[in-house]
Point group: D2
Chain length 167, copies 4
């Protein structure tokens, strides 16, 4: 059995459509429902819903909470996947890299350009890829999306293209 920790922080991947307002918002968590669509016979996935925020609204305090949550889970000697809004994913990743100098496991940040369950969503693809990458990658902080693996220092969001690119 491979233990994998997942820390959910919100972002587009978790947004839901509100029939009352007509907007998509971080109202509810849904990644558990989508994990259940995957077959993970020898993975023990532990999901923590840390917060549910658009990443543009994440504060320094929020990032400290993410850091503490990651630190706790690394003590269990297992990889960590963080679902996160794409707008400040790199900022959070860099902070983690600077604060956690002696990693022995991979920390994978992922998210989505379109919410899970909306037509054309990349959410389930990115979750699937991140769980696979978390098993294979060496220690380090990475962004994993769209069949790409970026060491955090080389990741940059290209808003126009709606994806990450190398820098």
């Amino acid at each position: 059995m491979q233990r994998i920790y997942v820390i959910a922080t919100g972002g587009t991947i978790e947004k839901v459509y509100s029939e009352q307002t007509g907007n998509v918002e971080n109202l509810d968590s849904k990644i558990e429902r989508y994990f259940r669509l995957l077959r993970l016979p020898d993975a023990e996935v532990h999901i923590t819903h840390l917060m549910n925020k658009d990443s543009l609204e994440m504060t320094a305090d929020d990032r400290d909470r993410v850091l503490e949550a990651v630190r706790d889970r690394l003590r269990e000697s297992a990889p960590v996947v963080i679902t996160h809004g794409t707008d400040t994913m790199v900022e959070t990743g860099r902070m983690l890299q600077q604060s956690l100098p002696e990693l022995r496991h991979p920390i994978v940040l992922t998210g989505a350009m379109t919410p899970l369950g909306f037509e054309g969503s990349d959410g389930l693809q990115n979750l699937t890829e991140s769980l696979m990458a978390a098993r294979i990658l060496g220690p380090g902080v990475y962004v994993v999306m769209h069949n790409q693996v970026f060491p955090i220092e080389h990741a940059r969001k290209d808003r126009e293209k709606a994806r990450f690119v190398w820098k």
Copy 2:
């Protein structure tokens, strides 16, 4: 072969998620893509994209355009299905009823509470029901959604419940 005319005017049923803005908007038409998921071997469905508006933004001029479009199609002696935002669907329906006193075919208004292709969407259900109802119902103006058929004078949107109710 049964001919059925579909007039698309926008509304939630056609909204798409924009990866650039993070909003759902009437940017693009998609009902044709969803009609293709249905098997309609002896129906000849003619779709007209008349406008693509949130129904709260429909003006009296817009409603006149809908009326003209319906009048044109009724001349072909076939039922008409109108996809429409739910907020002012009843208003448009009543105007049609008043302006078209001698109907020989049903006019069915439908829409959705959640856009086509979003998880939990009622859009394809409502399209499917409307095409069926358009074949069976007698002359008149109706709202058809959620397995319900409302003669237009008895339809009222209940925003809290996110559906239509009898009045």
Copy 3:
């Protein structure tokens, strides 16, 4: 509230893929799961799983059980939808029509060419249409599939075209 009785007898619409044998079989009932995808706010749907058979294997005794089940439900003064294999759907429908001469509600037979939940399936479309037709149609026995309504005496399965045609 509109009460609707559903009697499930099996057929392709309910077939499931067996990972052990690699075949599709009537092993398990699934229409309830698919009904839950529909919004039916004022319908009270009562589902009975009468049997789960490929309709080519239905016997005269099985048809008698269907007849008894229909008779019971008609006493409640509500329409009845029967999910059934397409190969002998017409045979069952004709027997019902002959045995139930004084109908006051519609009896709708439906099914699918491809099982519910398989890509390209017509199952959910046919369920949606049948529930709508059961509300609107007058008394009689009908086949409802693919946006078509056949009085039972005019229905014939065209195996090549994988649909029903008029006769």
Copy 4:
């Protein structure tokens, strides 16, 4: 841009439901359609449909054709993903490993327990994982499915559990 070669040989992952026979069969290729659901902005995926067989029907000649196809693609210095029936996937993988001693790239075998597009299918998950694993893994021959990576010499199909296990 990362080039990835995909060689499709058939197996459950590509099976389709035939409305004429009521069986699932290797009649048609469909992985291309499912690849199109994935976002692969910097991957150049080349798909070859080598054969479309239930893997229980693969002959020694068929395996030689697979070997030749892999050899050709390895010359282009890129990883290879092979979609394959699960019943003899290990046999093909071992033959490749023995015949290709000096690998400089990963060869990933994958498949599915339930065909692509059938409810509950693991096919898209396995394709997604294999494309990710093909980018990260070192040289060698592997089975990748269900969030697991098996070096070929440690893979064994457990038919009861409908998955691969370590040996």
